[in-house]
């Protein structure tokens, strides 16, 4: 039940309360050449980071940092995925497939 109610909250916020809601993507992380384009970046609580697979191979961007866990699964080249961080803290982001790809998102 808790999972369901949390989902509803997340959906309401991130899915857009109104049908015309728009979220500007002001921070992007690119993945060309099997590397993240930045090693670290900062966002404010509730802001999104867009993980852009502009590489030639799939990437599996994810984090197990408490409170900001996410797993994008296998994302095909030519696909960008926004992720909104709702809890302040340091988020260690990896590509599960390619261990060279590591970065940190600091959520203020």
């Amino acid at each position: 039940m808790k999972r369901f109610s949390t989902f509803c909250y997340a959906f309401a916020v991130f899915g857009g309360v109104s049908a015309v809601a728009a979220v500007a993507a002001d921070q992007s992380v690119h993945q060309k050449g099997r590397v993240f384009s930045v090693e670290a970046l900062k966002v404010k609580t509730g802001e999104a980071v867009v993980f852009v697979n502009d590489d030639t191979v799939p990437h599996n961007v994810m984090s197990t940092s408490a409170g900001n866990e996410f797993n994008l699964g296998s994302v095909a080249p030519g696909t960008a995925m926004p992720v909104k961080f709702d809890k302040a803290g340091s988020v260690q982001v990896i590509c599960a497939i390619h261990p060279r790809m590591k970065m940190t998102v600091t959520v203020d």
């Binding site: 949390t6 989902f7 993507a25 590489d55 799939p58 866990e69 696909t79 809890k87």
Partner: protein, 363 residues
């Protein structure tokens, strides 16, 4: 970068993405769902692959000029001598019968030539012994990536009960009882005595000198147009083209040091033991390099394929289709001639081999 808009169908996509995320968390055994929120996918342009010349493609495969040693464990001749001595010493195992070289033998391309490794008590292990050739360039170690450095990797099999079965305290006691080892350790690590860290650093230093020899492929890359056959040259083009081998077997050592499920039918979960939350990591294993590949049969993490022809056949069919299988693995539709060309190319990657002198063991 387009704005992220959530409305209409995208709104439903966002809901599905959230549901998928919840399902993933539930599968992973997550206790709560206080998590980052995933939005709907956005299609972005991907730059077309650069159609460089054959020469620029060759540049990606040139051998490096030097062996990289980490700042945390710089090369010294003393460490190399100690590391080589330890590497070949069977007294590093509980039984006194196995050394590192038993399973990582230069005579077999720094492997053991067996389908599965053999551990303590001659019991078969569950995976093939990986080569250590060109480990100096490695990013992460073991088939499942459980060792983050070569120094840590070196200590793992020694202590593993099923492998060399030697508790570290017992090993320190044994090495301390051998006078000549005290001298070797003092030369390599002055004033530090015999320590687990010293053992790991010394063995890792030796392992970093296990380099694949100059191969016909290197001569071809270097400009000798006749160093490899026309069939092998066609195989190189296929490797980087239709067969897509280079999506994982990247660069001069032919590995991305990354993890992929290539659809082998065994049940070993591989990298999934550490990153099971990522579906693609279940049954994924680290991409092995391809240098000296002709000396390293049988192939795959489970040693299930005896020949390079069988390996190419596997990739042509795509193996077992399942959720964890890499999206890069799919039927290739190679012709008989193309398969033969790929094998011809792979056989150009094995170099000249030097005689490796085995050290006299300290007493």
């Amino acid at each position: 970068m387009p704005n992220i808009v959530f409305r209409g169908p995208v709104l439903r996509s966002a809901a599905l993405a959230c549901l998928a995320s919840i399902a993933a968390a539930a599968l992973a055994g997550s206790q709560t769902f206080a998590a980052a929120t995933i939005g709907a996918p956005i299609t972005v342009p991907v730059p077309a692959p650069q159609k460089g010349s054959a020469e620029s493609l060759k540049d990606e495969y040139r051998r490096p000029a030097e062996i990289p040693f980490p700042a945390s464990n710089p090369f010294t001749p003393e460490k190399l001598k100690l590391g080589k001595t330890l590497y070949y010493d069977t007294r590093l195992s509980g039984s006194g019968a196995q050394s590192c070289a038993s399973c990582h033998n230069p005579g077999y391309g720094w492997g053991d030539g067996l389908a599965k490794g053999v551990g303590d008590g001659m019991k078969e292990l569950k995976r093939r012994s990986p080569t250590i050739v060109n480990a100096a360039w490695g990013l992460i170690f073991m088939w499942d990536g459980r060792a983050p450095s070569l120094e840590e990797q070196a200590l793992g099999p020694i202590q593993a009960a099923v492998e060399m079965n030697m508790p570290i305290e017992k090993l320190l006691e044994r090495l301390n009882s051998i006078t000549e080892y005290k001298t070797l350790f003092e030369a390599a690590f002055p004033g530090e005595g015999i320590t687990p860290a010293g053992i790991g650093k010394a063995i890792a230093t030796f392992e970093r000198t296990a380099i694949s020899g100059w191969a016909p492929f290197d001569s071809w890359i270097d400009g000798d147009a006749k160093a490899i056959s026309a069939s092998a040259q066609r195989g190189f083009a296929l490797f980087n083209g239709k067969a897509q081998c280079n999506t994982c077997h990247v660069g001069w050592n032919f590995t991305d040091d990354s993890f992929h499920d290539i659809g082998l039918p065994d049940a070993d979960i591989g990298r999934g033991a550490f990153l099971g939350v990522a579906v693609k990591m279940r049954q994924a294993f680290k991409t092995p390099g391809l240098r000296d590949i002709s000396r390293r049969s049988p192939f795959m993490h489970d040693g299930s394929m005896a020949t390079l022809e069988a390996v190419v056949e596997h990739y042509d069919t795509g193996g077992v289709a399942r959720p964890s299988r890499s999206d890069l693995i799919k039927p290739l539709g190679l012709t008989v001639e193309e398969k033969a060309d790929l094998v011809a190319f792979l056989k150009t990657l094995s170099g000249s081999s030097d005689v490796i002198a085995q050290p006299i063991q300290p007493r």
